[in-house]
């Protein structure tokens, strides 16, 4: 089969496919630029310029409560940020929340992808129900989970636990961080499932049949063939979910307001800037958050492009 001979590895080792040098007509380049620049300019104006201004603010001593008192502070704000301790604990919370939610949603996503890849009665309906949590407005999800599912006296979670004789848990007050992770896992499992399901469907059936003919059991086939095949899909799903979750704000603002170890970087920055009105310091938090995200994003992009280059970027 041709698809098997053009192995991903050889392409991956070679230089990423460069856009084919097309015998361009002279106007081609100008046209392409004209088509591209409106989008590019919009993106720059809306995202890059504000970030540069944020960097500038981060070097200023500036509190909105004292508008007259605004001067150059050098790296003072960064020193404050690092000395303060809120940053490190917030970084810890962010990593813990992002890490556990991504891990749990990937594992559950894998389970559901495998289950829903089989053909069975109502497969289409089951898939439709499964993608729903990702479509639900995060604000609504956070509110419903907090007040309807996890509420300690009337919530459905404690009622279900009671059925099997487990005493009720005061979710919202005792373990706020667990409530955040539960909601995020619930919302991102469908996301992981969709990507992994696409991976399962892209698997060549010949290999699986060959394995069956050779007498390999379902479990062995899954571990030896399917799982390695899924690796790249797992990577994409993990990295995209990580990048989205590193910015997580909605459930924190709605369910816990940053209490109980749930103060993520986004929430901390929001608090410093819009409650504390410490513009300079908040800007420094923003810049630090970006630096951390860049580290993750760089890894993410590499992976994306690795997968991507097989398809032949730019052809």
């Amino acid at each position: 089969m041709t698809t098997l001979t053009s192995t991903p590895t050889t392409r991956r080792l070679g230089r990423p496919a460069a856009p084919a040098a097309k015998p361009a007509r002279p106007r081609g380049l100008a046209v392409s630029r004209a088509l591209l620049w409106p989008a590019l300019a919009t993106s720059i104006v809306l995202t890059q310029i504000p970030f540069v201004v944020t960097i500038y603010y981060s070097l200023q001593n500036w509190n909105l409560l004292r508008p007259g008192d605004r001067d150059f502070a050098g790296l003072d704000n960064y020193a404050t940020v690092l000395r303060d301790g809120s940053f490190l604990s917030s970084l810890g919370s962010t990593v813990l929340i992002t890490g556990s939610s991504v891990l749990l949603s990937t594992l559950l996503g894998l389970l559901f992808a495998v289950l829903l890849d089989r053909s069975f009665t109502g497969q289409g309906a089951a898939r439709t129900l499964m993608i729903t949590p990702f479509l639900v407005m995060p604000a609504a999800a956070a509110l419903v989970w907090k007040w309807s599912i996890l509420e300690s006296t009337t919530g459905m979670a404690n009622w279900a636990l009671g059925l099997v004789g487990i005493p009720p848990v005061a979710w919202n007050t005792d373990v706020p961080i667990v409530t955040i992770i539960l909601v995020l896992t619930w919302q991102y499992t469908p996301f992981a499932m969709l990507i992994l399901l696409a991976g399962l469907q892209a698997q060549t059936k010949d290999v699986l049949e060959a394995a069956a003919v050779d007498g390999a059991g379902a479990v062995r086939t899954f571990l030896a063939i399917t799982l390695p095949h899924l690796r790249q899909y797992v990577e994409i799903s993990v990295l995209l979910a990580s990048i989205m979750l590193l910015q997580v704000f909605d459930p924190v603002a709605i369910m816990t307001r940053g209490t109980g170890g749930t103060k993520t970087l986004s929430y901390l920055l929001y608090e410093r800037a819009f409650v504390g009105l410490q513009v300079g310091e908040a800007a420094a938090y923003g810049v630090m958050t970006v630096l951390i995200t860049i580290v993750v994003a760089t890894v993410a992009l590499r992976t994306l492009f690795k997968v991507f280059s097989k398809e032949g970027l730019g052809r």
Binding site: L40, L129, V136, S148, L240, S266
Partner: protein
């Protein structure tokens, strides 16, 4: 034979139990929305309530409609503008590649990966100084920045599937750029445009951070409005459920209808 069939049915049963458990919070929310307030938060739960539509009436008497309209304007407006910018850009990146396709794509996606928090302070202060807070138009403009990269990536992936020969044939026939785009390419990628639009709409409709921060009364959208149903003094669960149900219906319905396109959209075109 029978054992394997039995095992198959067992796996199917387990699958359904897990799927229904996962879907339960949504189902319970919708169910609670139809309960009278006194039967909403009870222990044990009320499974056979006196069904009523009163809570939906309450939701709209608390003036939910303007918030829904704000959400609709910001989502629809930003989606249309994003598509108008993204389709040509993706076209330039996939069908008429210029030198730095990789760099351009990299740039677009990196703006999506950047935390909104990184640019919110200057944006807030700017809007404050020009009187742009609590204004749907400004919110719409900011949503363009959020969704543009996703749309460019998605469209690039859809456009890459247009048979090259078709475009070359059109070009040989001396077709103008307009004809090339509107007559040859657009009809083929129209489902892709719809999918990209849907994803942008979903993200904009569900967006909370910017909406919560930059709007107050006039331009408030649905997500921050929902939080106002939490009432410290009385029972609010069924009215909150009713409001949440109304808020999620448009996007959930759209997502169900177009679920096949969702996969590619969510992976930003990285998976074909």
């Amino acid at each position: 034979m029978t054992t394997s069939r039995l095992r198959g049915s067992l796996v199917t049963a387990v699958t359904w139990v897990l799927v229904l458990a996962f879907f339960f919070p949504v189902a319970w929310m919708v169910f609670t929305a139809f309960k009278p307030e006194s039967q909403a938060a009870t222990m044990p739960p009320t499974f056979a309530p006196d069904f009523t539509l009163d809570r939906f009436e309450t939701v709209f008497s608390r003036n939910m409609l303007p918030y829904l309209i704000n959400s609709l304007s910001a989502s629809l407006g930003s989606t249309l503008l994003v598509l108008a910018l993204a389709v040509p850009a993706a076209y330039a990146l996939s069908i008429r590649p210029i030198v730095n396709v990789r760099d351009a794509l990299f740039f677009f996606i990196s703006t999506r990966f950047m935390p909104v928090a990184a640019s919110i302070i200057p944006v807030y202060l700017l809007l404050q100084s020009v009187g742009g807070l609590d204004n749907v138009t400004w919110l719409t403009i900011l949503y363009i920045g959020v969704n543009l990269p996703i749309a460019v990536w998605m469209m690039r992936s859809f456009l890459a599937e247009v048979p090259r020969e078709l475009i070359e044939a059109a070009q040989l026939d001396g077709a103008r750029l307009g004809t090339e785009i509107f007559r040859v390419v657009l009809p083929i990628v129209l489902p892709g445009v719809a999918a990209a639009g849907l994803i942008c709409f979903i993200f904009a409709w569900n967006e909370f951070f910017l909406a919560n921060l930059l709007t107050a009364q006039v331009a408030r959208t649905t997500p921050p409005f929902l939080t106002s149903f939490v009432d410290g003094r009385g029972q609010f669960l069924s009215v909150l459920s009713a409001a949440s149900t109304v808020a999620i219906v448009p996007v959930v319905a759209a997502g169900w209808i177009a679920q096949k396109q969702l996969v590619r959209g969510l992976a930003m075109g990285a998976i074909k």
